[in-house]
C-alpha cells in the first residue's frame, strides 16, 4: 500500500481559497475543488499549497499524467519539500515505473531522512523492484510462472498480509487526512494465489483417525528434518516418490541427504495444515513450511500428497508454491 501525502504542506499557510478547495476535496466534490483551485491559481500561479492540492484532486479524478506533472513541477520549484516527491513516487509506482518511483522517494529522503511515509513507500517500492528483478532473474515473462512474482508484488502494493502499512492510515479522520492510501488497482483480483494461505475447502473430509495419522506423519517428518535425522526424514517418503521438476529419485535422495545434513542447526515447522482427501488412499496437505537454519530462514507454502497404500502415510509428491 503506497501512501500519498495529502496534508497541507507543513511550512506554508494555506490561502482561504485553498482551504475551501480542500474541504470540497474531502467531501468528494473533486470537480468543485478543481474549479476553485484553478481560479485561485490564475491569480497566484506559484502558490505551492494550491498546486499541491490541485495535484491531489487530479489523482482523485484519475488524471494521473496531469497529476504527475503538477508534483514534478513542485519538486523542481520546491526541492526542499519531501511531499511532492513522495506523491510523484506513488504515481510513478501506479504506472509501474518503480525505478522512477524509487528515485523520487530517495530524493524526498535526502532532504528529510526521517520522513516516515517516504520510508514506508520506499519499502514497498523496493519489494516491487525485487519482484521485477526476480522475474528478470528467472525470465518469467510469459506463461504461468510469469505471474508468480508479479503476484507477490501486487500483493505487497495492495492489501497484502504483511502488515507493513500503518494500520491507522486509512482510517484517519476524513477532515484532516494526514495521508491516504492508493491501492494498486490493476490486476488486483488474483492476489490470493500468492497471498497468505486462504483456508482450502477440503474436497472431502478425511476420517478423523486418518486425519490424526496424517498430522502425525507430517509432524514426524518436520521433526526428523529438524533433528537432521536424514534416514528418518527420508523414511517419510514413499518408494515411488516423484521429485518435482524431474530427476531420478536416487538423485533427489542424494541431494536431500547432503542438504538436510549440512546446516549445523535446522528448525522446520509445518504450520496451519489443511488436509483434503484425493481418494481412498491419498490425501493432500497444504501448509506453511517455516524453515530456520543457521544460515537462512524462510516461509514457503508447501503441498504434499501422502499415500497410505503401504500401511503408513508416506509422501508421494511435494510441491512449493
Amino acid at each position: 500500500m503506497l501512501l500519498l501525502a495529502g496534508a497541507a504542506l507543513p511550512a506554508l499557510a494555506a490561502a482561504p481559497a485553498v482551504q475551501e478547495a480542500q474541504t470540497l476535496l474531502n467531501q468528494g466534490d473533486y470537480k468543485g475543488a478543481l474549479d476553485r483551485l484553478d481560479r485561485y491559481l490564475a491569480t497566484s500561479p506559484q502558490d505551492a499549497e494550491a498546486r499541491f492540492s490541485r495535484g491531489l484532486v487530479l489523482v482523485k479524478l484519475s488524471r494521473t499524467d496531469e497529476a504527475i506533472k503538477v508534483f514534478a513541477d513542485l519538486t523542481r520549484d520546491y526541492p526542499q519539500l519531501p511531499e511532492p516527491y513522495n506523491n510523484l513516487a506513488v504515481l510513478y509506482a501506479q504506472k509501474g515505473d518503480y525505478e522512477k518511483a524509487r528515485d523520487a522517494l530517495e530524493a524526498a529522503l535526502a532532504t528529510h531522512p526521517a520522513y516516515a511515509t517516504a520510508h514506508e513507500n520506499l519499502g514497498d517500492i523496493y519489494s516491487a523492484l525485487a519482484g521485477a528483478a526476480y522475474n528478470r532473474a528467472l525470465q518469467l515473462d510469459q506463461g504461468n510462472q510469469a505471474v508468480r512474482y508479479k503476484l507477490s508484488l501486487i500483493n505487497q502494493l495492495g492489501n497484502g498480509p504483511g502488515g507493513y502499512a500503518p494500520a491507522g492510515t486509512t482510517s484517519l479522520p476524513a477532515g484532516t487526512p494526514k495521508s491516504e492510501s492508493i491501492g494498486s488497482a490493476p490486476a488486483a483480483a488474483p492476489v490470493a494465489a500468492a497471498a497468505a494461505p486462504a483456508p482450502v475447502a477440503p474436497a472431502a473430509t478425511p476420517a478423523d483417525s486418518d486425519n490424526a495419522a496424517v498430522a502425525e506423519a507430517l509432524n514426524g517428518w518436520a521433526k526428523a528434518w529438524s533433528s537432521k535425522n536424514v534416514d528418518g526424514y527420508l523414511s517419510y517418503y514413499a518408494a515411488d516418490f516423484q521429485p518435482e521438476g524431474g530427476g531420478s529419485r536416487a538423485q533427489w535422495e542424494a541431494q536431500r541427504r547432503e542438504r538436510v545434513a549440512k546446516p549445523s542447526r535446522i528448525n522446520v515447522r509445518a504450520l496451519s495444515p489443511q488436509v483434503s482427501r484425493i481418494d481412498a488412499h491419498r490425501v493432500r496437505v497444504s501448509f506453511i513450511q517455516d524453515y530456520t537454519s543457521d544460515t537462512i530462514s524462510d516461509k514457503v507454502k508447501k503441498t504434499v500428497e501422502l499415500s497410505n497404500s503401504s500401511g503408513s502415510w508416506k509422501i508421494v509428491r511435494e510441491t512449493i508454491r
Binding site: I125, L129, G163
Partner: protein, 414 residues
C-alpha cells in the same frame, strides 16, 4: 524448500554474516587485475563480474547499501545478467522490510534457481580460489614464440583463461566465466552432450552476423576430434567457442551440447587474441596452477628426447630412430609398429643423406591423461631426393620403465 548449503543464500538472505575469513579471501581476490607489466593489451575496465563480486563482498560485510548501489548499476548495464537480477532482488527484498516476499531461492527444486546458484558458486569460487597471479597451468610445458596467446579452459570450474606469451614466458591476461555441456566433459560420442577434454586449436572464426542469433557475437570452431580423439574412436563434431543470444548475458554452467560458451563481450574480447588456425585451446578436466619453474624439468626432458629422436633420424641411424616408437604405435594411415619399421627401413635405405630440422616447438601435458605429452613442431625435412616442411603432432607417452615413447604422430600441411 530452502537449501542451506549454498553460501549464495547465506549472503543473500542474511545480513552481517559472520564469515570473516570468507570476506577477507574474497576481498583480497577482488579487483586484482591479473595483468603482467609485459602486456601491451588494452586495460579491461570493471567487468560485470567484478561488480557482482563487489556487491557480494559488500553483503558479506553487512553493507547492503553499497551492494544495492553496485547491483543497481550492474542490472542497468546488463539487464540480462540473471544472476545479478536475482541478487538485486534479494537485496531489495531485504531492504524493503516487507514481510512475506517469497524469494525464488525458497524453491530449490526450480531448475532455473539451481542454475543461477551454480553460476553464483562458480563465480564466487573463482574469486576465492582462483589461481594466484604468478602461477601458470602446468599443462603448457612450452609455447613457441609464434603463438602470442594460448587458451586454457578449466571445464569443471566454468572458467576460461588466456595466457599471453612474451618471449617464451607466459602470463595470465584474461579470465572469463564459461558455460560447458549439459552432461559435463570428457566427450566420447556424438550426441553425448559433453565437452571434449584435450588439446585443440582454433580453426577459424565466423562472425555472429553470419550465424543464427543463438551463437551471439560469433564462433571459433575447434579441430575436435583431433588425432588423439581419433585414436580413441571419439566421434562428434562442431565443438566451438561461441557467444550467447542477446536475450541473456551468459548461460548456466552446464548448458551447451558440447561447446564452450562465453558472454558476448568476452567473446568479442578474444577477437584480438585469437589467431585462427593457430591459437591452442586446452580443454582441461583439471588445471593445476603451479609456479612457472615447476614444469622446467619435464620440458627439458622432453625437449632433449625430441632432439635425440631428430638427430638419430637425421643421422640415418634407423634402428636408434625406431627405438623412440612405442610398441603400440600406429600411423594415422593405419600402419602398426612392425609395418612402420619395415617402411622406414626401406625409405631410409634409399637415402644417402637426410637433414631434419625442427622449429616452433610446443609441448603440452595432455589433459585427461596420465603421462602423455603432445609435442607440436614444424619439421623441415630435406634429403638428396625429397624436401618437405610440415607441422607435426607427436604424442609421447612415458612407459613403465620411465622412458618417453612416441605412440602417435600426424603431419599436416603448413
Amino acid at each position: 524448500m530452502p537449501s542451506a548449503e549454498f553460501s549464495a543464500e547465506r549472503i543473500l538472505l542474511r545480513r552481517g554474516c559472520r564469515c570473516a575469513a570468507a570476506v577477507l579471501a574474497v576481498g583480497i581476490c577482488l579487483g586484482l587485475p591479473r595483468f603482467s607489466a609485459a602486456t601491451e593489451l588494452p586495460a579491461v575496465g570493471s567487468k560485470p563480474e567484478d561488480q557482482l563480486l563487489e556487491a557480494v563482498d559488500a553483503l558479506r560485510g553487512g553493507d547492503s547499501a553499497t551492494a544495492l548501489h553496485e547491483l543497481q548499476a550492474l542490472v542497468q548495464r546488463e539487464p540480462n545478467f540473471r544472476l545479478a537480477q536475482l541478487l538485486y532482488g534479494q537485496v531489495l527484498a531485504q531492504r524493503s522490510g516487507v514481510a512475506g516476499l517469497v524469494s525464488p531461492l525458497a524453491d530449490d527444486q526450480d531448475p532455473h534457481v539451481r542454475e543461477l546458484l551454480d553460476e553464483y558458486r562458480a563465480r564466487v569460487s573463482e574469486a576465492r580460489n582462483g589461481p594466484s597471479a604468478d602461477s601458470l597451468p602446468s599443462s603448457i610445458l612450452r609455447l613457441s614464440p609464434d603463438h602470442k596467446y594460448a587458451i586454457v579452459a578449466d571445464l569443471p570450474r566454468s572458467r576460461v583463461y588466456v595466457l599471453q606469451n612474451v618471449d617464451g614466458k607466459l602470463h595470465q591476461v584474461r579470465d572469463y566465466y564459461a558455460s560447458i555441456a549439459r552432461n559435463g566433459y570428457g566427450k566420447q560420442n556424438s550426441g553425448d552432450l559433453r565437452t571434449p577434454v584435450g588439446i585443440y586449436r582454433v580453426t577459424g572464426f565466423t562472425p555472429g552476423v553470419k550465424l543464427p542469433p543463438f551463437y551471439g557475437a560469433g564462433a571459433y570452431p575447434l579441430n575436435y576430434p583431433n588425432a588423439w580423439d581419433r585414436v580413441h574412436g571419439r566421434t562428434g563434431s562442431g565443438i566451438w567457442l561461441h557467444g550467447v543470444p542477446t536475450t541473456t548475458y551468459v548461460r548456466p554452467p552446464r548448458a551447451s551440447e558440447g561447446c564452450v560458451v562465453l558472454a558476448n563481450a568476452d567473446l568479442a574480447d578474444l577477437k584480438s587474441l585469437i589467431v585462427p588456425g593457430m591459437t591452442p585451446v586446452v580443454l582441461s578436466d583439471k588445471v593445476d596452477w603451479l609456479p612457472p619453474e615447476a614444469v622446467d624439468q619435464q620440458r627439458e626432458e622432453l625437449s632433449k628426447r625430441i632432439e635425440n629422436w631428430r638427430s638419430k633420424w637425421s643421422a640415418l641411424n634407423t634402428e636408434a630412430y625406431l627405438s623412440f616408437y612405442g610398441d603400440d604405435f600406429h600411423t594415422d594411415d593405419g600402419m602398426n609398429k612392425g609395418q612402420f619399421e619395415i617402411y622406414k627401413r626401406r625409405v631410409n635405405q634409399g637415402k644417402r643423406h637426410i637433414e631434419v630440422k625442427l622449429r616452433d616447438l610446443d609441448l603440452f601435458s595432455y589433459p585427461g591423461e596420465q603421462n602423455l605429452v603432445l609435442a607440436e613442431f614444424t619439421q623441415e625435412y630435406r634429403s638428396d631426393n625429397y624436401t618437405t616442411s610440415t607441422r607435426k603432432e607427436q604424442y609421447w607417452r612415458r612407459e613403465a620403465d620411465g622412458s618417453w615413447k612416441i605412440v602417435r604422430e600426424e603431419n599436416r600441411a603448413l
